[in-house]
Subunit: 436 residues, 2 copies
């Protein structure tokens, strides 16, 4: 029941997404530009024109540790809401790292190992991606070094411990072991770090080391493609086709992973499903950003990506859904949003946690803060159906558990959780720094 | 594939276990003695002579949120060990509370709710049982109050948070809201508490309140019977029958849940499987305790139970497998041990954590400290098979995940974890206080 292929949606789109550009030349980035950072097979997948890419047997042998993941009907939640809607959820929290991230971490580690790479580097914020890559590297005997944003390193020791149990080395970022980190520390020895700094450190070490490469957990085309195992399984598991698919978006890989196979069926005229992305009110790249070329990182080291962005210098408020605190959006999803293939809405932090608690008390699973955004929208839609009497079939992406996020639930229950408003001037200010 | 019946092994045994006795009269305890604490249906199940007890539809409707649980072959662990043994594990960590405990918490909450009980009380140490009961009560609209040992309440805030997310009220024990707790606090305002004190508080509130009852997470016959869903599923899922079943034992419900259905088949002559309980070297009730009537709690409030015990005043060293830190053992399992139906061995803390890390790096799942005891024994057996060339089929009980135990793994990786030796005089001393 685990699919044998990943689905690449690009050739099914009416036009391909705009290419990444070199920030100096403004010319499209080619494979040679990317070779110091990624293995050849992943570069090929990034620009592939094939609709289906076979999943290697060695990857399937690891996927089977937790895949296929459960597809459940939320009957107890439906009953508690008194809705005629039928709610299904696809649950990725059963993976070793507790989220959907291993779906791409495993093939990334595999292709790197196959091409002789001995060391993978990456950055991590709250630690979901870092723990997924640490697990994946343990499966293929690849060394793994992770730069974890100092603030999270100190605040979330358990995520760090999990990476170490899987055998990874974890550096607090900024670290003294890189030039980029050393420079920050020289200026500010107490720096709490940022994702932008951590990326610079991981990239520096990968680029300087001929048998090392770098790994990214979202945003890129091949990452989104690896996640389509979620939607392919759901298509086969569902007893009825959804009228509406709902998923949260940060970099976009979770939403894309569930939605793309259903979008393929819709583009082929076999489904009439609608699709809805849910982003945090504190980081609304689709709904309040612009569609423009911008850097993928805060420091401006990456190629220019055409995407919905709040500006690479935008720093989101510290919502607990750390996986959604990204200034930009997958260029592929951004392109598809412009084509009108899905809509996007925002949800604020407190209504998301309220939805998470409601879900835990009915369906039992404690959700991570990220998918509570999808749950809040799902519950709102189900209550609209209660008003209208519509028996809508809703499918939502429950992309991870909240076992490492209980301090946030604690604050919610104590009525201490913030509901960040985002003033327009903060977005306007960041957008003045767009390149070019 | 979820079974429709629980299996009661008592009528299949050559003789029934000795009954609990009233500590004053030394006469067997009757249903009337238990009625203030337990609902009638659970008292009936405790002494049932039926081999199979139907699982109510309302309980099955909750079980289906995570059952059937995965039965996996540990191919990657086998390969890493280079063993010809075939290792299977039944994974209960996919439940809402992350362990096997909801298998009995759900029917206990259901029967109490059906008999009009409005409030369930219990004690919890590290929090596995408390979070399971909190979840179960949320499913049947029963209020839940939990006395959590003060030391754990302060050290493990996330387990407390999880209980609160499920809607339970959690008291640090000793608490000022009971006479028992107030008395302790009067003598020692800074008391760290104990399981014995917490039991006293929970029992006091249940007994004093006509629509309240008390719930226990292990030891009793009906609790072990509810856990047989684990073994029944495994029997149906396995592609080949095990030569050896291995499970850890604290109060005994995890081991019994997996083993009893296989033992039924063996008693009927259909299997030749061997069974092995694994207990912590720091709390070896089977292997170094005596088989005698003793109290189930430290304070001596319970009926006398004939069981393997280290003495009710025995205080185990603070190993991280909190669920195995119990001075006694299920009377039913104790009786069966005397009948020679299974053997028991011990494993020390450091070798258990080593096994846990090895398992995480091969099979991906981070195990709780309790089942690392079963994993340590499984790995040792698989390595014996490597020596002998035996293709033994081993089935082990992976009864929970370690997502809330990463501080302990941290200490193991830092080489700071203790390997407690248990001097014989500590056992001898505690055994001098056996009743009667």
């Amino acid at each position: 029941m685990i699919p044998n292929n990943w689905y690449n949606i690009v050739p099914d789109l009416p036009e391909p997404p705009p290419p990444p550009l070199h920030p100096g030349t403004r010319q499209p980035v080619g494979p040679d530009d990317l070779a110091p950072l990624f293995p050849a097979e992943l570069i090929a997948q990034e620009v592939s024109g094939e609709r289906f890419v076979p999943i290697p047997q060695e990857v399937l042998d690891v996927y089977r540790l937790w895949r296929p993941t459960p597809l459940m009907r939320a009957r107890r939640l439906e009953k508690a809401l008194g809705t005629p809607a039928r709610i299904y959820y696809k649950y990725e929290g059963v993976s070793p790292a507790g989220s959907h991230k291993p779906n791409t971490a495993v093939p990334q580690a595999y292709y790197n190992a196959r091409e002789g790479v001995r060391l993978l580097t990456t950055e991590t914020g709250a630690g979901q991606w870092g723990s997924a890559l640490a697990f994946a590297c343990s499966q293929f005997d690849v060394e793994c070094r992770i730069w974890m944003v100092r603030a999270s390193y100190d605040q979330k020791p358990y995520r760090r411990s999990l990476m170490q149990v899987y055998g990874a080395t974890v550096h607090a970022s900024p670290s003294p072991v890189t030039k980029a980190g050393g420079k920050v520390l020289a200026d500010d020895p107490g720096s709490p770090g940022s994702l932008g700094i951590a990326i610079s450190e991981a990239v520096e070490v990968a680029a300087a080391n001929h048998d090392a490469r770098y790994a990214l957990g979202s945003v890129l085309n091949h990452v989104l493609m690896h996640q389509t195992v979620i939607g392919e399984e759901a298509l086969a598991q569902l007893p009825e086709m959804p009228d509406l698919v709902i998923g949260c978006t940060g970099g976009g890989s979770n939403f894309a992973g569930l939605a793309f196979p259903f979008l393929r069926e819709k583009l082929a005229g076999r489904l009439e499903t609608e699709f809805r992305a849910v982003e945090p009110a504190a980081c609304p790249s689709f709904t309040r950003g612009v569609y423009a070329y911008d850097y993928g990182d805060a420091a401006g080291f990456t190629p220019l990506l055409k995407m919905h962005t709040l500006g690479h210098s935008f720093v989101p408020d510290p919502i607990h859904a750390g996986g959604l605190r990204y200034h930009g959006m997958s260029p592929l999803l951004s392109h598809m949003y412009e084509l009108g293939l899905f809509t996007a809405v925002t949800r604020s932090q407190r209504e998301c946690f309220a939805a998470g608690v409601r879900f835990a008390r009915t369906e039992g699973i404690l959700p991570a803060p990220e998918p509570t955004h999808a749950l809040a929208e799902t519950i709102a839609e189900a209550l609209r159906c209660k008003e209208s009497g519509e028996e809508k079939v809703i499918l939502t992406a429950l992309c991870g558990h909240g076992h490492f996020d209980l301090a946030a639930f604690d604050r919610y229950l104590a009525d201490e959780l913030e509901d960040y408003m985002l003033p327009q001037e903060r977005i306007d200010q960041a957008l003045t720094e767009l390149p070019g």
